[in-house]
Amino acid sequence: MGFFSSSISCVRYRVEGRIAGNPTDFVREGLTRNMIREIEDDPADSASGWTSFTDPYQPAFEGDSFVWGTFFVFALRIDRKPLPANLLRKEFSRSSKRRLSETRRSFLSRDEKEALREKVSRTLLARIPPVPHVHDLVWDYENHRLFFFSVQKAANEELEKLFRRSFSLSLIRIFPYTAAELLCGLKEKERDLLAALTPSRLKA
């Protein structure tokens, strides 16, 4: 769901590290280098990359189009091609029969079956249009934090991977322990207490 949806969900991250040089230029380069690649007419089953917040189906990062106020605003797009197992089975069966008929043989070896299945899968994937999933994000560069508007596990994992690849910076997800460590201004003694903490019991 997008940032402007009537109901939004959000995962927070702490951005570790700093960019040397001009941050806008650096981020533009990272975004452009890892922009979503179109996979229509391509046998790839999925693709992921950065895209524009305002026009996720025509990504472009010219100038400072991704700079909104003090934030960097863009989106992660993950395109997937759904290939139903039944469809693959049907096309594989047809191709197997055709191959047997062409070669006047009664069976295919395991390697031949595997190669044929791969070929059928690639042919089908090239014909299936990808389904795009767009996940907006806002990077508050000055305050080392990032807001990702998706709670999907796979999308968050992809974000963490792609962010590191694009900007050589780590994302630390905010969950109870990291919130305690990073957001609560604990002193050394409190950190020690936190590390030794064990669950409470509500039952007396």
């Binding site: 402007f4 109901s7 969900s9 959000c10 995962v11 806002v138 709670v151 969950f175 957001l183």
Partner: protein
């Protein structure tokens, strides 16, 4: 700092305890929680709560609806369960937020908020985004204040004798009421 993956599992209980503490706080010291932020005018439970017992009976209770009866949830807490998701409604002078917090990861889910200012359809998306981000950041800052207060009490030597004891007393009272004693 510990390894993130290890810490996620090792300190999972911290989120459960935070949301249970928060439910107790909303019901028993609402004003002092709201006073953590001068802009906050009201904090209340909203229409969703999930209670989980990950030990023994491994029960999970989901309570939905406007003004839900929470007796069942309190009884489950008395049996050793914790709040794993809490729906909240937060009111400031300019805004009302409704959302759910997840104990496991502190994710903010299903957030509904009105625009703080009214924008025309032609209004720049940037203005709308900055306005919404401002509201969202304020909400997170309040959640962080609540979490910090919880953590300071949790790490205090008075946790067991004062804060946890108060939570237990509250549960016991509610249980007595439910049984009509």
């Amino acid at each position: 700092m510990l390894d993130i993956a290890v810490a996620y599992q090792r300190f999972r209980f911290l989120g459960d305890e935070f949301l249970t503490w928060l439910w107790h706080g909303v019901e028993t010291r609402n004003e002092s929680l709201c006073a953590l932020d001068p802009e906050v005018k009201g904090l209340a439970l909203a229409e969703r709560m999930v209670i989980e017992n990950r030990e023994g009976s491994k029960e999970k209770i989901t309570i939905r609806g406007e003004d839900p009866g929470l007796e069942e949830a309190r009884i489950a807490l008395g049996r050793g369960a914790w709040v794993s998701e809490l729906g909240l409604s937060l009111r400031t002078e300019k805004q009302e937020y409704r959302f759910a917090l997840k104990a496991e990861n502190l994710n903010l889910c299903g957030l509904k908020m009105e625009p703080a200012s009214s924008f025309s359809l032609e209004e720049e998306a940037e203005t709308r985004l900055l306005d919404r981000m401002d509201q969202l950041i304020k909400l997170f800052e309040f959640i962080d204040k609540l979490f910090s207060l919880f953590l300071s009490e949790r790490l205090s030597p008075k946790w067991k004798g004062t804060h946890l004891a108060s939570l237990r007393r509250w549960l016991a009272q509610e249980e007595s009421k439910t049984r009509g004693l």
